[in-house]
Structures are given as C-alpha cells and as structure tokens.
Symmetry: C2
Subunit: 399 residues, 2 copies
C-alpha cells in the first residue's frame, strides 16, 4: 500500500517541483530547526554553504532581543541557546546581514509588516509554554465575521471565539478583548494564543466557558491589511490611528460591536456577562469604554495600558497633575466607582515604558478611593506579558 | 494632532525596535516591491548591498516557474517582468543561492511547509485578477469550526464560508469543497481565494448566495499543522494520506460533515441545495462521495481530478481497461446516472499530468452514456486553473 502511494506521491511531487523549483528547500529536509532539547536549550540550524556570516535574532537573547553568531560546519550553521524558561519565543536568521526566516520552521507570526518564526518551550504541565500549546482538549471555534458599524459608516471584520460546547445551548458571558497599536483583529488569536489559552483554561475548569470578541481597534480600518478593499498595501505602525486621525473613537463605536454580539450570539445580556480588556492602546480603549458606559461591564482589565489613549492625544505627557485637573475624567471615574464593577484589574511590567503613567493613574484612583486589583511583574511592553495577563484575568471573571 | 500622535508613535516604536532590532527592515522602508506597473509589467526590488547574486523565482516566468536574474545598483537589486496577464502570482527571492521572502511584501501563502509571496495583476473589471481582489462589496463570514467525526474517532477542524446576508434569515444551499494532496482545510480560503471569489460573484449576481464548506481531506489529521495536538511539526507532502495510510475514507466519513452542517447552519436539506467539488485528490474525493451517495448532490465538480483516488491506491496505473473491469464502479456509476444529478462537471488543463487518466474516465462515462459537462483549458496541475474552475462551477450551481 505504502509503495503505491509513493508512486502517486512521486508523480505529483515531480509536478510540484516543476512549479516550485524547491531544490533549495529539498536539500534542507534532513535538518531540524529549531530543536528544543531535553535540557531546555534550543538548537537552530540553517543550511547556507555560501554564507559568510549567519546569526540568529531571538527575543530569548539578553535584553529581550538580540543576535547571536551561528557556527558553520559542512555548510550547516548552528547555534544552541542557553536553557530557556517555559514560554513562546520569536526569532529569525540574519544571513550576510540580510534578515530571513527559518526554512525549516512552518510557524510564523506577523508583527505589522514583518514576519517572525516562533517556537514553544514547555517544561511541565501548567507552565506558560504548556498553556500556549494545542492539547487534545475540546476546541472552541473562531468566527471571522463582518459586522455593520453605522457609527463608523463601514462594514468591519472581527474575530469571535466561541468555547467548546457553545453549540449545545445556553447563554454565555462575553469578553471584549482589544489589541494594541500596530495590531489588528488577528493579533490576539495569532501571537496572543487566545484560542489556545481559553481552550486549555476552560478544559481544566480554571476559566468559565466564555465568548471572546476581538474587534479591529484601528478606527480608520475595516480589517487586517489585505482583507478589505484598500488593496494589498504594506501596513505600517499606527497608520490607521494617525493618518488621518479617526474622527470617531472606540468608545463611540463600541455599541455597534456589542449590538452585533447580542443579536447574533447566545450571550448573557447584562453586566454580569460582560468583561472588557485590552493591551497597550487596547488598554486605553478598555479604560475609555469602561468609563463611557459605567454599569455595562462587571469585569475590566487594563494590560500594560496606554491609559489615556482615547481621551487625550497628548497622553504621553499626561501626569498626575493633568489627571487631577480633568473634570470630565473625574465625573466619569466617580460614575464608574458608583456602578461598582466586580473587578478593575491593572497589570503592567516593571520595565514597561508606560509604567510611570500607570503609576500616576493608580495614585489618581487611590485618591478617589476607587477599588482595583494590581498585578506587577518583570519585563516590558511585550506579548510575553500580555499572554500572561490574559491568562490571569480570564480566571478571575464570570465567577 | 498628528504631531502628538507622532510622539506616541516614536515612544512605542522605540520599544518595538528594542524588541525586534528591525534595522534591516527599516532601511528598506523606501523600497516598494512588488510594483505592478501601468503596462502590466511588475518590478521587484530588494535591498541587499552585500549579496553576490540575487534572483527572483516566479510562477509567471516561462514554464510556469523559473528564476530570473536581478540587477544591482547602489545595493538595490531589481527585476522587471514582461507584461503579465490578469492573475494572482507567486514568487520569492534567491539571494546567494538561498531562498528568502520579499521583506517588502506582507502577503504570503503556505504550500505544505514552504512560503511564497504573492501579488495580483488586474487589467479590467471582471478579469481573473479583479475577481480575486477584495472589493467594497458585502463580505461573507468564515467560521473555523470543530466538528465531531465519530467515523474517524476525532474532533476535526473545517472552514465554513457563509455569504453576506446569511444572518438575515432563510435557507441556503451548500457547496462542499475539497482540497488536494498537500493541502488542508485552509487551502481554498488561502491561495484558492474562495472567499473573494464568492463575495464578488454573489455581489454581481453571478452566483447564488451559498455556504461553502472546506473540510480537511487528510483522514489522519485533525487540522492544519499547528492547530491540533500533534505539535508544531513540519508538514510534508502526503504525510497524512500515506503514513500510515488511513483506514477510513473520505466517503465513509463524509456523513459526519453533512450532519454537522445540517444541524448547525440554516441549509437546504435536500439534493437541490447540495453541491460537491474538489481539486486533484479532492477531485477524487468528489468522485468517490458523489457515487457513494447517488441522489445526495445535484451538482458535482471534478477539478483536475485524481479520479480514482479513494477507490484504488494503485490509481496512477488505472486505465480504460481497468475501469471497464471494475464491477463495483460500474454499479455505482449506473446508480448515479439513474439519480440524474443536474450537473456533472469535469475541468482539466491540457498539460495536466492527470489529463490522460481524465480522458480515460471520460471515455468510460461516454460508453455508459453518462451525461457530463467538460471544460478544457491551457495549463497544468496548478492553482491558476483551480481558482478558474471554482469561478466557472460556482456560477452553474443552485440555479
């Protein structure tokens, strides 16, 4: 049987070779890269007999990102890392000064216009790497939907995770989850591993089955680049938030999203069944949406939040004094406090460039005796932290 | 306003640079690649001042795939193609003999384990390139669902396109659409441009609003690589169809798919609302499923079909004599003929390696006076033809 299949494979593969002229790839087939070794080190390999220099750039290297030299033997360049903690890591190769992806690694993610390879290190059940891994558990679905936004005057794309068992009936709570500047509606599902995190937490009974809604937070865009009629443009950082600056805010257009959810999905239609969270710019969206609609959400999560994004374009210069002087903010925070959400959660890394702004905001909340829960950990403005914050926050809500 | 946004952008971009060390990418930002010129030629550009050689591999080059030398000036390598017909094209660069993607082009597709950049050439409204382009028309949704397959003993992932307006009510017809060997449930949506083709045909009134179901045709796999618990393996050609060979066929497990559709979606539950089609191996699946369940489908489409895939692992050696000698096949084709499907459509390119097998099969059908519609065009076993066949077939069904 196998032999006969092989005949078929050879016939078709010969066609593919004509199409693709993949000789370069084929000669690499014996090479494994990356290889996660038993001791937690990771070996990278690249066949590049003509290269003068080859390096690996990795976010696991000192400083949260750097290059390490690879060594050549018989045309194969190799680098083995130090033992790595359980986590999802990104890397690419630099050959003769030119960035390129690892031809042996099928797994990519996109950050704005650039691609990275990634891999997962896991040491034991329940660690971060394990949580981001696809396991043999019931999987939720992901719907890529187009909803009507009359407020923005456009059709817009968003991704909606529904948990395993959603189709068996019942009403489900909803987490609205916002991406950061440079991201789009695919960011949380892609490098954010939101589907894997939710599948695994729900399967272990650590999180309630919930719907997770991931809209596009760039108010001038209908969708991720390439999925709408703007053409196959090269996305650039902040292009949909600043060029031109949108005239409608996330908080103004948010009701279109909630309306779509509550008319198309089996959801709990009150504050007990609504949570909102987001990272960086999306933390600013969370801040803005939650105070714009006090009493709408029982659970609010600010992840490395650009707190004042959305109320003040000058937000990087905002400090405790300007917060205290903002009368509208004061009224809104008072109203939110009066509405008594069950959880107002703030998470940030201690080297985040938004740390001092978050600290000012916490002082402001303290002065108002506004109750919140605070989580601080190592690291900066990075996905490692945002995946972690989602993991923590998801276990605290709807309980 | 813009200035203030810029301040914010600079702060955050400085963080990104620390994370990504994107100096290589940043220095390329002034370069546009690829650029589709007014005369239909396409210019490719690559910044690679240290390269000794640089080439572009493209499926638009003679023979359906080949390399062309780029020329260097001031560290920028350039190649301009001949004028190209309206179509979607794939390419990558080869620098010092090493394949790499175009750092200026965000648009990739994956073929098994290898990635290609792509671009679209369109000259006028209604041509192939135009049809594969995202336009400002109502968009259908794409659901990534997990369905239960008791026959295969696993949860399995499939993609389901629902047309714009699906949520407004009514019952919709369903096209079951199978991928080829080496593909997975994402193939038709990805390089097959199925969502764009359907969006555009439906918006122009050329095709009926329909649901398109894209299951995974590899019976040993639950999902595309990386989306199931097998881990982050490197996919290889036919690995899920031959290693080990599955013991359950597509036609045996197909009822699980149809059952899911008919219990979860608003569909027409009779033959008038069911079509099935597929390419290559998926053409074999279409052949097998349609004769296994005569009367189930009114519309059947075989695209460059590996006709006997699924009934005979030795299918490449199958010829007119062996077809005539197959008693089970004879009974099934007679039963299918008696069931009178409205359309049995066969499409193939005149240089396809499966051309002679398809010719034998047509002769066999002629001898049985089995009615079918036949479409032959230029080219081989390639996506250019499969997108075209879907376009033609989709306009013929449910009418």
């Amino acid at each position: 049987m196998k032999k006969l299949f092989t005949l078929w494979a050879v016939c078709l593969l010969s066609m593919l070779t004509v199409v693709a002229q993949d000789a370069i790839f084929v000669e690499n087939q014996e090479i494994v890269s990356p290889e996660v070794n038993a001791d937690g080190t990771v070996t990278f390999r690249l066949v590049a007999p003509k290269a003068i220099t080859a390096q690996v750039w990795g976010d696991f290297l000192p400083g949260g990102g750097g290059v390490a030299d690879m060594k050549e033997e018989n045309g194969v360049w190799t680098y083995t890392s130090e033992p790595l903690n359980a986590e999802l890591y990104a890397y690419y190769f630099v050959v003769n000064g030119q960035a390129m992806l690892d031809p042996q690694n099928t797994y990519l993610y996109r950050n704005i216009a650039n691609y990275y390879n990634y891999f997962i290190v896991s040491r034991e059940k329940g660690d971060n790497g394990d949580l981001y891994t696809v396991h043999e558990v019931p999987h939720g679905d992901v719907d890529e939907v187009w909803y009507d936004s009359p407020t923005l005057g456009m059709q817009r794309r968003m991704l909606i995770y529904t948990p395993a068992g959603y189709d068996k009936g019942g009403k489900f709570p909803v987490l609205y989850l916002f991406h950061g500047a440079g991201g789009d509606e695919e960011a949380w599902i892609d490098f954010g591993r939101a589907a894997q995190i939710m599948d695994n937490l729900i399967a272990e009974g650590k999180a309630k089955p919930m719907i997770v809604v991931m809209p596009n937070g760039n108010m001038n865009a209908q969708a991720v680049a390439g999925k709408w009629s703007k053409g196959m443009y090269k996305p650039s950082f902040m292009q949909h938030t600043s060029d031109p600056a949108p005239t409608v805010s996330m908080e103004q257009s948010f009701p279109d999203i909630q309306k779509y959810l509550e008319s198309h999905y089996n959801v709990i239609k009150n504050r007990k069944g609504r949570a909102v969270a987001g990272l960086s710019m999306g933390g600013g969206h969370t801040f803005a949406v939650s105070k714009e609609y006090p009493g709408n959400f029982d659970y609010i999560g600010l992840f490395s939040a650009a707190i004042l994004y959305g109320i003040n374009s000058n937000f990087m210069e905002t400090n405790l004094q300007s917060l205290r002087a903002d009368q509208k903010l004061s009224r809104q925070i008072d109203a939110l406090k009066a509405a008594k959400p069950k959880l107002y959660w703030i998470g940030i890394g201690n080297t985040d460039f938004l740390y001092s702004q978050n600290k000012d905001y916490r002082t402001y909340l303290d002065e108002k005796q506004f109750p919140y829960e605070y989580y601080e950990n190592d690291g900066g403005h990075i996905w490692v932290n945002w995946r972690k914050y989602l993991t923590i926050f998801a276990q605290k809500i709807f309980k």
